[in-house]
Symmetry: C2
Subunit: 124 residues, 2 copies
DNA sequence: TTAGGTGCAAAACCTTTGCCATCCC
DNA sequence: GGGATGGCAAAGGTTTTGCACCTAA
């Protein structure tokens, strides 16, 4: 069973009080203001636990390794959460979205990426 | 100026001949069939160069570090390519997309992420 | 000729893990 | 009490980098 600990509580509090999408290291620094003795291992372990519990989410897709592809017509991806394979999709890319976001935000939008996730045929 | 090297050529060839979105390590293994003496450093360096030249692209967003956020209503992100900051967008999330992709592919689609890229207001 | 590129190995980074002490239920 | 969790430090895995030697232009 899951126990309540000060460490986990503070990590979650930090994430709930920011909109800055911090890295593990930034979270660590922030948490140390409350818990000067917390270790990085604990931060990482709790970030995982909190993800399992759906209390937080990681923006980055699939951990640390980069994947590459030759430049093609722009397209979206599907990543299987079990086997980790990445597939190209036929779904048409909506370029209007870039303009719409640009208009709303005032940012210069050059492109967007979309990734669907779930289970591929082999893994269902 | 950029010179043509056998190493870069083979790396690009490998990426053009696959749809498997390989990692740097997988590319390295593949390239070594042609160039047994190539080093990993060279692979990494060329993957960067090829990205600069827009000949290839990395699927992963923003290198190796993960960023986290507390769970919120699902939403899309914008990442500034200059300062690296990530912003939440108001753009409505289109859940129909999941169903459409699922129908087309036969995959089980649980969710999707979208990230827009460009320059934020401060960096333009 | 010479600036850009390569190989090699070490370093840098980020993340995970083993171990033992500690704490929550 | 006993299993879950934490702190610490070492290990692991990926990517970057310094340096001396090469090579395309």
């Amino acid at each position: 069973m899951r126990r309540d600990t000060k460490q986990r509580e503070v990590i979650l509090k930090v994430l709930r009080n920011t909109r800055s999408h911090p890295t593990a290291d930034q979270i660590y620094d922030d948490v140390r203001k409350d818990l000067p003795n917390i270790s990085k291992g604990t931060v990482y372990r709790n970030l995982q636990v909190l993800q399992e519990d759906k209390a937080i989410s990681a923006l980055n897709i699939n951990g640390t390794q980069s994947r590459y592809e030759a430049k093609r017509e722009s397209h979206y991806h599907f990543r299987c959460e079990k086997c980790g394979r990445v597939f190209d999709l036929d779904e048409p890319v909506d370029k209007e979205l870039n303009k719409r976001v640009s208009k709303k935000t005032g940012f210069t939008v050059s492109h967007h990426q979309m990734e669907f996730r779930g289970l591929c045929k082999d893994c269902q």
